[in-house]
Symmetry: none
Subunit: 260 residues, 2 copies
């Protein structure tokens, strides 16, 4: 589904921003870049800033007008730094990503051989003044990144990064995939309740032996220690380490007592 999203940059001045856009796109799994009348392209600085995303630059299509860039798109989102004179449906990046994916999903669910595959475009304007009102009028939605009102001018590649990130998160959500890394594979099995209970008993016994804990005046000590270790969810290796420390501490304390 990410392959059905096109990024469009209009009249980009600095080629470094085109390269950084390619890198941001590739990081987030997007591949299709269309450049409307860029000032310098192809360009060495664009390649350098793309890191190893130059395959996206090589496949980028250069056109003269935004109309050409959008000709085969069914859904167009334009980025807007501020409210214009003419009100337009203004959505957040998160709403934008949800909208794009629900539209793509609906189109893909009902394939129609008469219609080409659904394509959505997200359009970014010039470094100094964004998109014109005429260009924004070609869009179905305007998306606004919630910048600080006193410093609202985002770098264009940073804007691409934010929207590409939201698109990727929506994609991962919609495809019911959690990013694999978010599912923790712990390296050791978790300790059982029984093991942890034995650790608490060993801990309390040791604290009594070294004279830190008085069972006749327990106050909240053991409760606080239980809360600390319960919160962390101990694994088996950790329980073994902690009990090893306790045994060694007991030997030290007993050695001292015997020698007295």
């Amino acid at each position: 589904m990410l392959q059905q999203i096109r990024i469009v940059l209009v009249n980009t001045t600095h080629p470094g921003n085109i390269g950084a856009t390619a890198r941001a796109m590739k990081n987030m799994g997007l591949a299709e870049l269309v450049l409307v009348a860029p000032k310098h392209f192809p360009n060495e600085e664009a390649n350098a800033r793309s890191s190893r995303a130059d395959d996206i630059l090589e496949r980028a299509i250069v056109v003269d007008t935004l109309e050409q860039a959008l000709a085969d798109c069914q859904l167009v989102v334009g980025t807007s730094a501020r409210q214009r004179n003419m009100p337009w449906p203004l959505i957040s990046p998160r709403q934008m990503a949800g909208q794009v994916f629900s539209d793509i999903a609906k189109a893909n669910q009902a394939p129609d051989t008469q219609t080409p595959t659904m394509k959505a475009a997200v359009v970014f304007g010039r470094e100094d003044r964004g998109l014109t009102n005429e260009e924004l009028a070609l869009c179905h939605y305007h998306v606004h990144i919630p910048t600080d009102e006193h410093f609202s001018s985002l770098n264009v590649a940073a804007a691409v990064q934010v929207l590409a990130y939201e698109l990727r998160v929506a994609y991962l959500d919609s495809s019911q995939q959690v990013a694999p890394a978010w599912q923790e594979d712990w390296d050791n099995p978790w300790a059982s309740g029984e093991d942890v209970e034995r650790f608490y008993q060993h801990l309390e016994q040791t604290l009594i032996e070294i004279g830190f804990h008085d069972p006749n005046n327990p106050r909240l000590l053991m409760t606080r220690l239980r809360r600390l270790y319960q919160r962390t969810r101990l694994d088996q290796v950790e329980v073994n380490i902690l009990r090893g420390i306790l045994s060694t501490t007991q030997k030290a304390a007993r050695g001292q007592k015997e020698s007295n």
Copy 2:
């Protein structure tokens, strides 16, 4: 609340990335930047890439070690590109932002004149290889930006942009919401990075004295113990209890040695 969040860059090589980080921060309403041993700073390219966010660069603090950068922070989030040998609680950028804001909101709701204002840090690593395992071990959470698995190396300023954006969205959401009722207030202030670091040093020293830990053959012992306690996020009373146990244990061990 955004003023209570610090961005920390570790060993940044390219000054342009420092400038782009300052711009991304200011766009999102963040202001506090700490640089750990940057290669080139102050620097002209950093100023150029910051656009007009050079006030953030002027106020940026340069320190030698990550420990110094985190000394007064109660909550530390590290960015992690990949799963390490030893897994750590790994959260998404959105979970991270929610966690940071609920923690700051709770700390601010219960002001304690004894405790400094809650401060959270988000730490970003080197351009080529991120944060080391030792640096990640100083963090309470590891956050992973869900990049494409075949092209996962994000530009460091782009990573700052994504996380700063999520923090801003969480801030805008939280400032419109009543604090959720299900979040219980913690009874004690959280321990600072400095306090916890002193606890680890005390712990290691004690384990050596009782003969449980051999610094010449450390294996993963201290790493495992750090992971255990970082995961649980210690409060100030807990640190005091744990250090009290260590001092009492040292007395026991020293008593035994003296009597031998």
